[in-house]
């Protein structure tokens, strides 16, 4: 099963008046070429306000490049982008203070402590109040569990501690939008779970969270929306539930009478019926599961088990981005 590559981006750009939907991130035809090769190609991102948006894609698919363009670090070859309704880069100065960002891993001064590194970021922010700085810095460190290591030199931090410090930097002040590029990279299981809780609490406070990742398992539990990148293009985008239901459901009937069961299923228009040992599989299409169960019982087929299986997001992800291991270069 392969979804047509252009399906998702086309969903709503045609018939939607430009700013009717309240979007935290919106890009139109966002393209970046390095040399001749497009790292990001005609991206139409639509991240609704208040959503937790999982931005998925294999290595080298253009996630970080997209994030750099969103934040005004990299100028797109063509296309436009806006954050919280403000154009980037022309309105960056007014919108970026409301955006917390983690871009391609942590980066700090090695010979400053974690706390002093955060103090430097806070000092750079014209919007932050110096009187509350130390309180906010401690709160941010506390939030990522780094308070005990706050005075250690950054150089002496482990990979996970560095990542935590970078996350602390994104919550130094009140944010309406968080753009997190692989926030759980290098974190231990507790750290991963804490990031999940943090994202949930930020979302609960009303922030929109945009998380890039290549680990489906870490985002599928918390994301309300997903976008899937493959080789610079957005191949699917939408609410998680909608994407999940896109894959075709299959039913499995466990029964000592597989032949009879198969007859009933075929009679209901179920396609691809396969008879196994004590089992029958099929793709019900539009036929509702309860109709199938009723028909089986009505036909006196002894049913020991009945299951409706939706494909996992991981299957969908692999379908969309390809099985291959090699990075497309």
């Amino acid at each position: 099963m392969t979804l047509p590559a252009t399906r998702a981006p086309e969903i709503s750009t045609e018939d939607r008046p430009p700013s009717a939907v309240d979007l935290a991130i919106e890009t139109v035809g966002l393209t970046k070429r390095f040399g001749g090769r497009a790292a990001v190609d005609g991206l139409q991102l639509e991240v609704p306000r208040g959503s937790v948006y999982g931005f998925l894609g294999p290595n080298g698919s253009g996630k970080t490049t997209t994030i750099r363009m969103l934040l005004g670090l990299v100028e797109p070859t063509s296309g436009t982008r806006s954050l919280l309704g403000c154009r980037v880069p022309s309105e960056s100065a007014t919108v970026l203070p409301r955006v917390g960002a983690l871009v391609e891993g942590p980066a700090f001064h090695p010979y400053l402590s974690g706390r002093r590194n955060l103090a430097r970021l806070d000092a750079a922010d014209l919007w932050s109040d110096p009187r509350t700085a130390s309180r906010r810095i401690d709160a941010a460190l506390d939030r990522v569990g780094l308070l005990a290591a706050a005075t250690k030199h950054y150089r002496a931090y482990s990979l996970g501690m560095r990542q935590r410090l970078a996350i602390a930097g994104t919550v130094l002040a009140h944010r309406d939008l968080l753009v997190l590029d692989e926030p759980t990279n290098g974190l231990d299981p507790q750290g991963t779970r804490e990031v999940r809780h943090l994202v949930e609490s930020l979302a609960h406070d009303g922030a929109t969270v945009f998380i890039s990742s290549h680990l489906l398992s870490e985002v599928e539990q918390i994301c309300t929306h997903l976008g899937v990148m493959s080789d610079g293009r957005l191949v699917a985008q939408g609410p998680t539930q909608e994407l999940r239901s896109r894959g075709e459901r299959t039913v499995r009937v466990t029964t000592p009478q597989p032949t009879e069961a198969a007859e009933v299923l075929r009679g209901l228009g179920v396609s691809g019926v396969e008879v196994g040992a004590g089992e029958v599989h099929g793709t019900p299409g539009a036929t509702e599961p309860e109709v199938i169960v009723a028909a089986l019982v009505h036909a006196d087929v002894r049913v020991r088990g009945f299951a409706v299986m939706t494909p996992s997001l991981e299957d969908l992800f692999v379908d969309l981005t390809g099985e291959g291991f090699d990075v497309s270069g």
Binding site: E75, F108, H109, A123, A124, A139, A140
Partner: protein, 286 residues
């Protein structure tokens, strides 16, 4: 939970237009870095070595030469001698290290992308970075002058200073002249810092920027020493650097000083603008 609640208050005051916080943070970063502290020690060591050498040779000369006596009659001489030596290479090297850190260093660490997303506008970043380089220039020159004066006064006392015109300046007036010399030398080093700032926007390797600026300085000195290129000399940044000696005439001879300052200002403006042109549209992929 109370802290988190306070954090999540829905509004934030709009930003101020100017703030010295980033500049203070920048100066703290420069002053706090161990390597810079070591560099400052090296700068400070030279006048000490120089003063001791003069003192020792004076003693061993034995015959009591009048000329050396008159020069060593005022300790401020050590500052001037040390600045003459250090303007050649040590002070340019020091500003080259700071300039390498300024943009290339931040790019190399990756902190540049985080500063820009705070956000710090690129123009503001270059203003703050250049201000901190100017501070570094003033700081380095001042350390050389103050250490030189301290050791000089300790070894040679505070007698009147014989000007290059032959007249004598009392110690107080001589100190005033030294302050002018410090400001003049700082202006030269700060102008070189603008060149360094520009080079720093060209690379992500701070050491490359440092080396490039050092080569630029040495080349300038070499060209300045080639008589056949005298048409070029007025345009070289180093050409009038040692004109600070003119501040020790009585009265001070201003022509070369003013010419030097205008060359410094020209370099500072042109190279700061080049740095801006380079950084303003650059993709930050570090």
């Amino acid at each position: 939970m109370s802290v988190a609640e306070r954090l999540s208050r829905p509004t934030r005051k709009r930003g101020r237009v100017v703030s010295t916080r980033l500049l203070r943070s920048e100066i703290g970063l420069i002053a706090g870095r161990r390597r810079n502290q070591m560099g400052l020690l090296v700068l400070a060591a030279l006048p000490i070595v120089l003063a001791i050498a003069v003192k020792v040779s004076n003693r061993t000369a034995g015959g009591g030469p009048d000329f050396l006596d008159s020069v060593t009659s005022n300790g401020l001489f050590v500052s001037l001698a040390a600045l003459t030596v250090e303007m050649g290479l040590f002070l340019p090297l020091a500003i080259a290290m700071l300039a390498g850190d300024a943009v290339a260093g931040e790019a190399n660490l990756g902190t540049l992308r985080y500063l820009l997303t705070v956000p710090v506008r690129r123009t503001r970043l270059l203003v703050v970075k250049y201000a901190s380089l100017c501070f570094g220039a003033l700081w380095g020159v001042t350390v050389v002058a103050v250490v030189g004066a301290a050791i000089g006064i300790a070894l040679f006392g505070t007698g009147p200073l014989t000007t290059l015109s032959g007249s004598q300046l009392p110690f107080g007036a001589a100190s005033g002249r030294l302050v002018l010399v410090v400001l003049y030398c700082s202006a030269g080093i700060a102008a070189l810092g603008a060149v360094g700032l520009f080079i720093s926007t060209l690379t992500e390797q701070p050491i490359a920027a440092t080396i490039a600026l050092t080569i630029f300085t040495i080349l300038s000195w070499i060209l300045d020493g080639v008589p056949q290129l005298d048409w070029l000399h007025p345009w070289l940044i180093v050409d009038q650097w040692l004109a600070f000696a003119d501040l020790l005439r009585d009265p001070p001879f201003w022509d070369n000083i003013l010419r030097g300052l205008s060359v410094d200002a020209g370099y500072a403006v042109v190279f700061w603008l080049l740095a801006w042109a380079r950084l303003a549209g650059k993709d930050i992929t570090s």
